[in-house]
């Protein structure tokens, strides 16, 4: 009898524990803010976003390739679902940002949307010679990055592809000349999802870094065999090689990858560069699919050393798909955001926010992943993300897009995916063993995340996407932040896989002030890529870097935008040029775009 009573009590204890699970399960992340009207959003969050692509005259819908080798056809949506990209450029130097969008079906057109200064855009890609970039036999476009490689004042463009990368010279904003063949060691074929302009040796000439995803010797339209897939889901090293191409200053580039010590053959999906190790030379951060991230520390422009392991950013393998830098604490140091996969009950990788630890000789001794403690970890099947002060309150926010394959909402590929995931490399690496996806979805129809940086003392983010008007559920890939109408706010442009290009016009509480810096190098590269601006105001300091490409297949506007909050007292802006010069701008005026030329 006593035993029965004891067992009944144990049963009550077990029931209590299970009840605790029910109570706790919804407390992991605070619920996202619910949809409210725009005035309420403005009041509560200081901004709201409105999708205006139609009003802008933009009706672009991305198309994926359909014609990859028949050995990949049964998993085509998985393989081909990563080729939407958008980049921002003022290609004609009229002071208004334009947009370049890649398309990825064979024969489809890319688009260069010229800003008409009135909220509308006109596609001038064909006129400029940048439309017809998906010709049969040349591969398909996956992204584009802009940089003035010959320092003539006009932004040139590298189109990276699963195929033959193309370099176009900007002819003073009047047109573009294809210079691929005369550019030296530009690779003949590279299956890349990421490339950036970076002056790695700080010699004043922009160099190129192109990161292969698939191995470069694969023509995905004519495969020798089906054994082309990653050898492991989390430890794969059979991806594409990388290319570091040094600008020789005569319009040609030389391949210095090997000499520079960059040996990675991981499946890189995103790359970005910034001075993370304190020696003024830009370091390279690679977010790798099927594996760990890599941090190539730039040793004085001479060579690179991979320090991902010692710095902890390369400890735990996940599915890196984006690299973004942001000084979210206003401490004058960059955090690194890397997106991964989260599907409740199936796979919980969570995104990483790497926060630098203490420094030794300027170099962080280690990074700590704080994504979950500040609540930017769980973002679905995450792709592109960008930091920017969306509400001009003086703290960087984070915009993230997600969703992989939105097909039949009632069918799910996750079981098939999990089946193949843990198998031996011989099985995984052979495409014929991957279950056919047919019309199944895979983490599709996901709600986007707009995380605003709210807590001033203990930085935490809250997701206000629905509340501020971001309600789309397309399969987002690429995000770019840009002040499209020179209003002192960051608008958002999103490129979706097999979906429309979205333009979210931002309306910000007018009390919140801002300042922008438009830099032009002289001793440094003219695009000023790699230059840092540290703005000091109201006891804070925020650092931003002029980027030659960041996020996923994207490039933000070249100008640096700082939100300041209401009634700011701006002390100074410190500009650290790649050449090594430091410039101080005392008390820069707010609500102003400051055009700063590097002092001679």
């Amino acid at each position: 009898m006593i035993d029965i009573v004891k067992q009944a009590l144990a049963f009550v204890v077990l029931g209590g524990m299970m009840a605790s699970v029910l109570v706790l399960r919804d407390q992991g992340n605070p619920p996202a803010a619910q949809r409210v009207d725009s005035s309420e959003a403005l009041k509560k969050y200081d901004f709201y976003l409105q999708e205006v692509s139609k009003d802008c005259g933009i009706n672009f819908v991305h198309e994926s390739t359909k014609n990859l080798d028949e050995k990949l056809q049964h998993i085509l949506p998985i393989v081909a679902g990563m080729s939407a990209g958008v980049s921002v450029v003022d290609f004609d130097r009229d002071g208004w940002p334009d947009l370049f969008v890649v398309n990825s079906r064979e024969g489809s057109q890319c688009h260069l949307y010229h800003n008409n200064h009135d909220g509308t855009f006109t596609d001038v890609a064909e006129k400029m010679g940048l439309a017809d970039l998906n010709r049969a036999g040349t591969g398909i476009c996956t992204g584009a990055v802009w940089g003035d490689y010959d320092n003539d004042g006009y932004e040139d463009v590298l189109i990276y592809k699963w195929g033959k990368p193309e370099l176009f010279h900007n002819d003073k904003g009047k047109g573009f000349t294809r210079v691929t063949e005369s550019a030296g060691d530009l690779p003949k074929w590279v299956n890349a999802n990421s490339a950036i302009w970076v002056d790695f040796d700080c010699d004043g000439k922009l160099d190129l870094f192109i990161a292969g995803y698939w191995p470069s010797d694969l023509d995905l339209w004519h495969l020798p065999s089906s054994k082309v897939m990653p050898e492991s889901f989390e430890y794969a090293k059979n991806g594409g090689r990388k290319y570091l191409l040094r600008n020789k200053g005569d319009g040609t580039f030389e391949d210095v990858t090997k000499e520079a010590g960059i040996t990675s053959t991981r499946w890189t999906l995103a790359t970005a560069a910034a001075n993370l190790t304190g020696n003024r030379y830009p370091d390279l951060f690679l977010s790798n699919d099927y594996g760990v991230s890599e941090l190539y520390a730039n040793r004085d422009g001479k060579h690179f050393e991979e320090i991902g392991g010692p710095c902890r950013v390369g400890d735990t393998p996940k599915s890196g798909m984006c690299t973004a830098f942001g000084d979210i604490y206003n401490q004058g140091r960059f955090c690194i955001y890397v997106t991964n996969i989260t599907e409740p009950g199936k796979l919980v990788q969570h995104n990483n926010l790497w926060v630098p630890g203490t420094e030794q000789m300027g170099e962080p001794t280690g990074y700590t992943n704080k994504a979950d403690s500040i609540q930017v970890g769980s973002g679905g099947w995450s792709w592109g993300a960008q930091f920017g002060d969306l509400n001009n309150d003086g703290w960087l926010d984070l915009y993230l897009v997600n969703g992989y394959i939105s097909a039949d909402p009632k069918k799910d590929y996750w079981y098939d995916y999990s089946k193949i995931a843990g198998g031996h490399s011989i099985i995984i690496s052979d495409a014929k063993n991957w279950p056919a996806i047919k019309d199944q979805s895979l983490s599709g129809f996901q709600q986007k995340c707009v995380w605003i940086n709210r807590n001033r003392e203990f930085v935490k983010f809250i997701d206000v996407a629905q509340a501020v008007g971001v309600t789309d559920q397309y399969d987002g890939r690429s995000v770019a932040l840009v002040d499209l109408s020179n209003r002192g706010v960051l608008d958002v442009v999103v490129a979706n896989q097999n979906g429309p290009l979205l333009i979210y016009k931002n309306t910000v509480k007018p009390d919140n002030q801002w300042v922008q810096f438009d830099l032009e190098g002289t001793a440094s590269n003219r695009s000023a890529i790699g230059a840092e601006v540290e703005l000091q105001w109201d006891g804070r300091k925020q650092i931003q870097v002029v980027s030659g490409g960041c996020g996923y297949a994207s490039q933000n506007m070249r100008r640096l935008h700082f939100g300041l909050g209401p009634n700011p007292e701006v002390v100074q802006a410190v500009i650290r040029w790649p050449s090594g010069k430091t410039q101080y701008i005392k008390a820069p005026a707010v609500r102003t775009v400051h055009h700063i030329k590097e002092p001679s």
Binding site: L24, A236, V348, A421, G423, I427, P435
Partner: protein, 310 residues
């Protein structure tokens, strides 16, 4: 865009009974290896080396830990927390319901299993999975036998109730041969001493033809259906979860039959797209087999009694 959701598996063998040698002198008894420590030691070694080579364990940042330690420690180990929770629960429940201090080897294994298998950024799923696993041994039992493998029960309950807050193991120990081989060596050492090596062998023997049967329904390649069996995590499942001595049947023949039935149930669940098929298969078949054996034992006992009376 990669992923790897590999379900299943857990090093959750309960500690075997101690081997005692009353006839030996004290110094010899001190040096005699206690079977109960074998499984914890080997599983700890597997975890240690897996993390060393592959970084399986991800220690999340914890502001509360930084606050508690004045910034000296900024992260927490959920695996360690699960182990502590399991052993603490075992201590409390054993004292409360059995009136004695327990040997903690079994709780250690359940805790380390929960710590490996639960994935997610939150602490409480690790802790509660470990606690539920242990509590199930005390609550869900018939006479001296508990019905479910503790960690199998804990994981199944957690995935059912808190699937939005956690997932099961996702980070793999590579996709090469060596990890399964190492696990099999460790498993063979333990299961050989326990005389249970036939269980994983029976399961594997059943899996091969069942994988072929699945291809007839799915149209996928045989290797695709075989893939889960070759993963390191499945070796842990086969060697340590379905072999748990307190929750397996008594005879070699019946254990082999149960292993085959688990594989059959897993195939049925897989054909229905169940990502957590291995957990669910054992969750269903394991206690059912135990109940049948308990029932048969009771009938035999009654028959013997009746015969004795007659």
């Amino acid at each position: 865009m990669s992923s790897s959701t590999q379900v299943a598996s857990e090093p959750a063998v309960a500690a075997p009974p101690a081997v005692t040698h009353p006839g030996r002198p004290a110094w010899q008894r001190l040096l005699t290896f206690d079977n109960r420590y074998l499984a914890p030691i080997l599983i700890t070694l597997i975890l240690f080396f897996a993390n060393w080579f592959y970084g399986n364990l991800d220690n999340p940042d914890a502001p509360w830990m930084a606050w508690l330690t004045g910034g000296r420690i900024t992260t927490f180990s959920p695996t360690f927390a699960a182990m502590l929770a399991a052993m603490a629960t075992e201590l409390v429940l054993s004292r409360a319901f059995r009136g004695k201090w327990p040997h903690l080897a079994s709780a250690y294994i359940s805790g380390i299993s929960a710590g490996i298998l639960v994935r997610g950024p939150l602490l409480w799923p690790f802790v509660l999975c470990a606690m539920i696993s242990i509590a199930s041994k005390y609550a869900l039992r018939i006479g001296p036998r508990h019905l479910w493998n503790p960690t199998n029960f804990g994981m199944t309950v957690m995935l059912f109730l808190a699937g939005d807050a956690m997932a099961t193991l996702s980070v793999q120990t590579g996709n090469s041969y060596w990890a399964p081989i190492v696990i099999w060596i460790a498993g063979a050492l333990i299961l050989g001493r326990l005389r249970r090596l036939h269980i994983p062998l029976a399961f594997a023997a059943a899996y091969f033809p069942l994988a072929y049967v699945r291809t007839l329904f799915t149209g996928d390649t045989y290797l695709a259906e075989l893939a889960p069996l070759l993963s390191p995590m499945y070796q842990l499942y086969m060697c340590f979860m379905i072999t748990d001595p307190p929750t397996t049947t008594r005879t070699v023949r019946s254990r082999c039959l149960v292993a085959v039935l688990v594989a059959v149930a897993e195939t049925i669940l897989r054909l229905n797209g169940d990502v957590h098929a291995p957990y669910h298969a054992l969750f269903i078949v394991g206690p059912a087999a135990n109940l049948v054996e308990i029932g048969v034992d009771a009938c035999r006992k009654q028959a013997k009694l009746a015969m004795a009376v007659a």
